[in-house]
Symmetry: C2
Subunit: 289 residues, 2 copies
């Protein structure tokens, strides 16, 4: 995993504009927001999915960068005072604390555009029509019926008691959509990836995405700020419904184990097994909690 | 122009998710931000450029929608309290006033993703590689070395005295990049549009974009809030450098006339003249001021 994390770091370093280009402060803030931190779960999923179906890793570098840029933009905007008002992220001051609110807004907007630039200005599939589908997949995953929509539901849920299906709907959008897209886009870099593979990988991505958020909820409730690198216990103090507040810690852990088993079962159906996707599933579901 | 404005309104209505889809409030706010207002200058430019080179207007509908979605997202974010803190836009309360800051942030983000979805999930060129170039053109125009970068420079310029080249650099990015892309993308919908046409149209787009901002600066200094549909005199009260503060009203008007002549001269070099682009240039440069 370390090798792949280094690989996406280098790719991101390459696609982010240098501070020698105007506006220098914006480019410096974009680099601050993206480089030198983060678990890079979405890029790792893209690499692992691509590897399974024989994708050229140089194509996956750019796909992995684009999903991480979308993720990074969403964190910068999420941390703003009008949203979650978080001051710490990946162990560092958040972008609006280090710079200012207006810069953070423009950093998020710029990373958002850059993700689509990366995904469209380089050849990432032998068939350009397929590459257009890849860009459309990312756009849908990021938009109002994907990640941004999930965040809107999250905001509206503050102080409310959600049912388990409502909570799942929120998380499938807020976190799940981009994780699912990461798996899909990594695989789509391989010209040989067929409909059956993509369908199985998509089922894996859906389960992994939900599991990731579930484990995050448990971690947020249980862990310390030092372990997380972001403010712990934030969900409860923000009065946000989470799996822990809806199901309790024990039932949440049990559900995580069920989802993990489901994820592995999907991977077993792939012709050559799950490869590194199995390792990432293990990481997602068995983080310290 | 009215017919084309109606046409893009219908196209936008078609691409924006309906309020029957969750999250309903976000979709309602997205529609509020985009529909029923605005001069639609960017779409009009896309239609006029497409028409000149024989583009299918059904393709241009979607290109026109995508540039207007980017423009609308930028207005929603620009109006936020941490940016220009504007309460009135197109004669209506701004999105964060009508809804709230967090919703406005997510509306902008969602419109931004939707623009790329519209530009990639429908066939807009017979050659998919060309369509990827179209999406990359929009991404570059919107990003940190285009519109968002121009806004960052704008923010950093508050209270500063800029030279004319510095001011031009700011405006070429902030307003010019997206206007230029609108002309390019409209023309690129035509399979027959060649490099010479695209090059001439790009020169026109560059001059028109700068002229548009110049006239806006003069209007902001001179017009009333009722005429503008947004808060007048905002630039001066925000202590922002504009063409009027740098050059004065008279020299700004003179420069506008020069740019108008230059725009018309470029159009005359096109094989069949400028068509409706000439009308739009007249509109851009001769708005009430």
């Amino acid at each position: 995993m370390l090798e792949r994390q280094g690989r996406v770091e280098a790719a991101l370093e390459g696609v982010l504009p240098g501070v020698e280009h105007a506006p220098s402060q914006l480019h410096s803030a974009m680099r601050y927001a993206v480089l030198g931190g983060g678990k890079r779960v979405r890029p790792l999923l893209a690499y692992a999915a691509g590897e399974l179906v024989g994708a050229d890793p140089r194509r996956v570098d750019l796909v992995a960068s684009s999903v991480e840029l979308i993720h990074a933009y969403s964190l910068v905007h999420d941390d703003l005072p009008c949203m979650d008002d978080d001051r710490l992220r990946r162990g560092k001051p958040t972008v609006h604390v280090e710079y200012d609110d207006a810069t953070a807004l423009l950093v998020g907007d710029s990373l958002h555009s850059l993700a689509f630039q990366v995904l469209t200005e380089n050849a990432l599939a032998s068939d350009a029509t397929r590459q257009l589908q890849m860009a459309a997949t990312l756009a849908r995953a990021a938009g109002s019926r994907g990640m941004a929509g999930g965040q809107a539901i999250d905001l509206q849920s503050v102080g409310k008691r959600l049912s388990v299906p409502e909570l799942e709907f929120m998380h499938v959008h807020k976190t799940g959509a981009l994780i699912r897209a990461s798996v899909q886009l990594g695989a789509m870099c391989a010209d040989s990836a067929g409909a059956v593979d993509l369908e199985l990988l998509d089922r894996f991505g859906k389960v992994a995405g939900l599991g990731f958020q579930l484990v995050d909820d448990v971690l947020d409730a249980a862990a310390s700020t030092a372990t997380l690198g972001k403010t712990a216990g934030k969900d409860a103090s923000d009065n946000k419904p989470t799996y822990v507040t809806v199901l309790g810690v024990e039932r949440s852990r049990k559900l995580a184990i069920e989802l993990y088993d489901e994820a592995l079962a999907v991977l077993e159906q792939l012709p050559h097994g799950g490869g590194r996707l199995g390792d990432i599933a293990r990481f997602i579901f068995h983080r310290e909690f």
